[in-house]
Each structure stands twice: as C-alpha cells, then as structure tokens.
C-alpha cells in the first residue's frame, strides 16, 4: 500500500479516518499542504518528519484541537464515520469524545488519581459504576497495580512515566475509537518510554492509535503504517517495514537513514 503524493490514495477498507487533501493555514501561512492518507482501524499509524514539518498541527486537526488557536483554517476533508470532522454541523465536543488525545508533556489535573480518570466520563453523563470504570482504565494503561492503594492521592505525586500512563488511562476512560498521541514519550526517560511502547502494542487490538514522533526508531519499532512529512507535505506513506527498509522516495531514504532532520 505504498503511495506518493502524486497518486490518488486508495481508501482502504478498514480505515477509520481518512485524510483527503488536508491543508492547514496559520493566518494564511501554510503549515500542512494537501496531505492525504488513510488511518487504518486497530493499527498504529505513526507520523514522522523533521521539526516544524507540521506533524503536530496535522494531528490536532484530527480532534479539532486546532480550534483553540486563533487564525487557523483547514481545507480538505478529514472523514470519520462518514462525516467531515471539520464540517460546520459537527460539534467539536462530540468529536473529542470519540477521538482522544495524549500530550507531549504529561498534564494530569491537580486532583486525585481517581478524579483524573473519572472526570471525563463524569461530565459526559456516565451513570454506571465509576469505580469499575476507573479500575478498568487504569488496568488498560498498565498503571493499576502501582496506584490501586493510593487512588485518592494527588496525581502530581506520581513519577513522569506514571503521570503519562495516567493521562493515557484518562483518555481511555472515554472509550474512544481513536487515540491520538503527540510525542508522548519525548519528556520521559528510556525505561518509561519502553513501558509505554509495550502498552501501545497491547492497546492496538482494541483501539486505533495515531502517534506523532520525532524518534524514528520508535516509529520503526511499534507502528504498522508510517507517514513521512516534510515542510507540510506528505512525502511518502506506507507500511512501516517498507518505509524503513525499501523507501520509494529519495527524501524518505535520506531521512530514515539519518542524513538530515
């Protein structure tokens, strides 16, 4: 399923989000330029590229987080469940219920561990047993064993790696279809990074994951599909193995072999 930007991207049968000619502008200046690729269900898709190539901007367009930046305009279509996410009739709050996000630096609320996980479902009208939901989410994030005896302590008392797993649990509690991750390990030490990478492997059977990373080895290790961006343009998209061992585009080859970026 390799493709270059000049070919029409075939819509895969099992894609859950489709990007079609997506362009994003910051007050008129172009940041993402006509990017098209599918995001396959229950797979990990990674977006790689040098700094400033528009990866995070693109990721944020998948759950309408760009709405908070003044002067941002989005062209093209991001299709999810048959709807264009950026259509005027679409409620961004609804979008974010189904498509969750984990950020670069862990950002737990200054509340207890329990409340961090319970807050999202709580405001969204969750009525069943919260204790069960919190435990389930923490187990899925491989954090339960470490915190089960101190659920009501402040989340800020956790280590960096634990806080990030808490943020993952918090996002998972919303039962999203897709989990977006913006360089989730870049603020963590190698051991915590390894823990989270293992976690993602486990999660992908239940969730679809899109991960932005500047760490190529990480992308090569964990993702199924990879999109390579440079200065806002999609240079190449394909199966991860192929991108890293037999890239079709010369720029791709130069990037993955470390000749720049």
């Amino acid at each position: 399923m390799n493709s270059t930007p000049n070919e029409q991207v075939p819509l895969a049968d099992d894609s859950i989000i489709d990007l079609q000619e997506v362009s994003i502008f910051y007050s008129g200046k172009i940041a993402v330029d006509k990017v098209s690729f599918p995001i396959a269900k229950n797979k990990i898709t990674s977006i790689i590229g040098p700094s400033g190539c528009g990866k995070s901007t693109l990721l944020r367009s998948l759950n309408r987080m760009n709405d908070f930046i003044p002067g941002v305009t989005v062209d093209g279509m991001v299709t999810y469940g048959g709807q264009n996410l950026h259509g005027s009739e679409v409620d961004p709050v609804e979008v974010r219920r189904c498509i969750g996000m984990v950020f670069q630096k862990p950002n737990p609320f200054p509340k207890s561990i329990y409340k961090n996980v319970a807050w999202g479902p709580g405001i969204n009208g969750y009525k069943d047993s919260m204790d069960e939901l919190v435990e389930q989410s923490l187990r899925q994030a491989a954090l339960w064993e470490e915190v089960k005896d101190r659920l009501h302590e402040s989340a800020l008392s956790l280590s960096g790696g634990q806080q990030q797993r808490l943020c993952i649990a918090r996002a998972l509690a919303m039962a999203p279809d897709v989990l977006l991750m913006d360089e989730p390990c870049s603020a963590l030490d190698p051991i915590s990074t390894a823990h989270i990478e293992d976690l993602l492997f486990e999660l992908k059977s239940r969730y679809t994951i899109v991960i932005v990373t500047h760490n190529m080895q990480q992308a090569a290790r964990i993702s199924d599909h990879t999109a390579f961006l440079e200065t806002g343009k999609l240079i190449e998209f394909g199966v991860t193995d192929q991108i890293f061992t037999r890239p079709q585009n010369q720029r791709t080859e130069e990037y993955v072999t470390g000749r720049f970026g």
Binding site: F68, E94, M101, N107, P108, F109, P110, W119, G120, I123
Partner: protein
C-alpha cells in the same frame, strides 16, 4: 616580573584595602535603611501595645471585647467594642458579597474568554479604578449611591451601612479581579488542553479544572481584598455614619472601627485621657485583624507556588 608590573600590583593591593572599607560602609548604610522597616513594625507594636496596656488598667478586657455599648466620650461611659466591630463586619461582609462574585467573574472573563484587544482595554480600566483615592469613593457614595438607595428603599437613613458596603465593594473589586486574573492566567495552558481533549465544554473546563487549579491565588486575593475593606476609612466615614450600633439591617447608621478613629481625631482628645487611649486600642484591634488576614493570604499563596514546581 619587571618593576613596572610590580608597582602596578602594589597599587592595586592598596586600592583593594580602601575600597573594601568603602564597600563595608556602603553596605552598612543600605542595611540601616532596610532596618527602617523593622523599626516601623516595632514602633507599631510598642506604641499600640503601651497605650493598650494602660487602657486595660482602667477597662477590663471582658467589658471591651464583650460589651455591647460603645460610649467613650459621654457619661456614663461604656467601652464595649462590639458595635464598632459589628459595623466593620457589616460593611466588610456587604462589600465582599458584591466584590467577590463580580471580581471573580471578571477575572474568569479576562483570563478565559476575552481577546487580547479586550484585555488591553479592561485591564487599564481596572488599574484606574484601583487608583482612585478613597475619599472620591466617599463622595460617590454620598452623592450618587445614597440618593439612589433612598429612591429604592425610602425608609433608609441618610447614613447607612449599605451605602458604605456598596462603595467599599466597588473599591476592592479591581483588586480581586486583577489578582485572580493573574492566578488563573498562571494555570498552564496544557491543563486546559487536556481537559478539552476529553470532550468538555468551556464552562466545565473553567469551573472544574482552571479555577480549582488556581484556587490558592484566587482565595489569597479574596483575603487581601477583605483585609483592605476592613481597613478602609474615608468612604465609610462619609457614608456609613458615626453611630455605634449593632444594627440588624443594612439600613441604619453604624460606625466602623476606622470611622471611630477618624471621629476622635477630628475632635480634640486630650492626650493621656481615656478617650485618647481608645484610639490606640481600636487601632490595635484593627492592626491585629488585618495582620492575621494578610499572613493567612500569604500562607495560601505560598501553597500555590508549590503546585507547579
């Protein structure tokens, strides 16, 4: 080493000795200036304490703190301070009821909703409001607020607690708005983003994440404003009256601790007389109350520094 270099080294050694002396003198001079602030506090404590002590030789603390009649100048004298404290409490409570919700709402608007352009208009306006002298607020109370109130409540007295409360509320409003805005703006943006990413509306993010996160700074601003309201003098002297009175409504004339102090000093209290001493006792009480509030607000503020470390 040539003779020239040796000379140069010798010269620089001599300079070192005299400059060290000069440094020491200057540092001591600066230190003395810094001591002025300590001397000020010591002076406050000694002076208020001394007169207070001799006051309590003539009046029992029980009568002072528990008595409900304050008649220090006429016979029969009575030195129960509760009416003054009550007057201060009434005005402060009324002011807080006005200033806290409005101030907090403004702070929320400024930090969460307002555009940069709006901020650039509203913040200077708040600074202006904060800089207006209190006697101007007294004028405003007498010439605008009281007539307005009389129009709504015809039974209200010309001097009344409500007028004082309203105007003091307006006075401390900018303080709450500015300090709370600082506290809320200091909440990291990434916290808001995390909340929005879970599918929350701005109301939920603001009230359940941002304000709780900035709560220490917000509460510190409340305490500081209340402390300021308690110490406020001119507006209440002009608007609220000079009648020590444990009033149960806001419509009567009362007297605050500060207004009493002004009243005494406008008259001629003979030095050393008991009336003169009441000045110091009431001022001492005022000092202690505001000190406690200020220290409390600082402690709360310090806790707020820690959360983001």
């Amino acid at each position: 080493m040539t003779t020239d270099t040796y000379q140069a080294v010798k010269v620089s050694n001599i300079n070192k000795r005299s400059t060290r002396w000069a440094e020491f003198l200057i540092q001591s001079g600066l230190g003395l200036c810094a001591l002025v602030s300590i001397i000020t506090t010591i002076a406050i404590i000694i002076i208020l304490g001394k007169e207070g002590f001799s006051f309590f030789q003539h009046v029992s603390p029980a009568e002072f703190f528990l008595g409900t009649r304050w008649v220090p100048l006429l016979e029969p004298q009575s030195f129960g301070v509760l009416p003054l404290v009550w007057g201060t409490l009434l005005v402060t409570f009324g002011a807080a009821v006005i200033a806290i919700p409005i101030g907090l709402a403004s702070a929320i608007y400024l930090s969460e909703y307002a555009s940069d352009r709006v901020r650039s208009i509203v913040k200077p306006v708040l600074e202006l409001l904060a800089g207006i002298p209190t006697v101007v607020y007294g004028f405003f109370a007498l010439t605008f607020i009281t007539p307005l109130l009389k129009g709504i409540f015809p039974d209200i007295q010309v001097f009344n607690a409500l007028s004082g409360a309203i105007v003091v509320g307006i006075m401390v409003l900018p303080m709450i708005a500015t300090l709370s805005d600082n506290a809320l703006s200091a909440v990291p943006q990434t916290l808001r983003q995390g909340a929005y990413a879970l599918g929350a509306t701005s109301y939920e993010v603001t009230t359940q994440v941002v304000v709780p996160a900035g709560l220490s700074g917000v509460m510190a601003s409340f305490l500081l404003a209340i402390s300021r309201a308690i110490g406020e003098t001119m507006a209440v002297t002009l608007a609220a009256g000079a009648t020590p009175n444990i009033s149960l409504t806001f419509f009567e004339s009362i007297q605050t601790m500060t207004a009493y102090i002004v009243q005494i000093s406008l008259g001629d209290a003979p030095a050393g007389g008991i009336a003169y001493q009441t000045l110091f006792v009431v001022a001492g009480l005022l000092f202690v109350i505001t000190l406690i509030l200020n220290v409390l607000s600082q402690k709360i503020l310090m806790r707020y520094q820690e959360v983001y470390d």
